[in-house]
Assembly symmetry: C3
Homo-oligomer: 109 residues x 3
């Protein structure tokens, strides 16, 4: 058995937990970091059999990888509104840090 510890962005966590649950992975949502990250993080612990680790990793990768997202920029303060044409910009969102740790035993009481 393995313990998969995945740290993902808050905004990806609900979708990821749902996707894991759809494939019968039991997920324990550990915690959210405090304010020091602009985007809060969520830590998921997923206990899974050795033969299912690759499937779990695939689901994590699919639902929380770092990716680019187009956003509309805020229009500049005090600029001339007439001449300003907002261009969508790309920002990086998401990303997952994943540790796979051996588990000697697992219990649910």
């Amino acid at each position: 058995m393995k313990l998969v510890i995945a740290v993902v962005e808050d905004k990806d966590s609900h979708r990821l937990v749902d996707a894991l649950s759809d494939q019968n992975f039991k997920t324990t949502k550990l915690s959210t970091t405090g304010g020091f990250l602009k985007e809060g993080n969520t830590t998921l612990m997923i206990g899974c059999e050795d033969e299912n680790v690759d499937d779990a990793l695939e689901i994590i990768k699919k639902n929380s990888s770092q990716r680019e997202q187009m956003v509309a920029p805020i229009s500049p303060m005090g600029g001339s509104a007439d001449s300003y044409i907002p261009q969508p910009i790309n920002i990086e969102v998401g990303g997952a840090t994943v540790f796979v740790v051996p588990v000697e035993s697992f219990f649910q009481f």
Copy 2:
């Protein structure tokens, strides 16, 4: 040495930490989940020698197992108070998810 990672309900955590402490287990209370669980969870990390793991598990089981609890139901809104006889109902409370992980070394600085 082993690291016992136990996720329990908030309401069980104080009693469990006390019971572990009474048996000289050092417990690190990690974190409480945010709002998405109605009952918040607490994660405990207990570093213990191999020969003490079973004792720690027994204490966790005794103090945080899933169990039924009788609660008085809320009386129905707008119902006839005269004819309403509240029946206590059973709800499930508690429960622990426990991972036992090998530890290569442990330090207190």
Copy 3:
């Protein structure tokens, strides 16, 4: 590879994360405990190669060990301000609990 799990005081965590980062350790800041500790705790997870574990431990020890700190006591309520001479006192601050756990695989998506 190893996963170094360090539980330190909030007040030490920023300096410690900076010191680890200066030596190219990637740190995941997990969570802060709720109110039950007067001084909140922060849990750091540091994934590092086997040969770098000792360096990581040294940085943790240097930046978050338990130590004494001189503080000015609060002047006693209702005491005679004229005759009261505050003496600095020593309190214990800091401290780190560290588990080194084997990691089978590590991913960043």
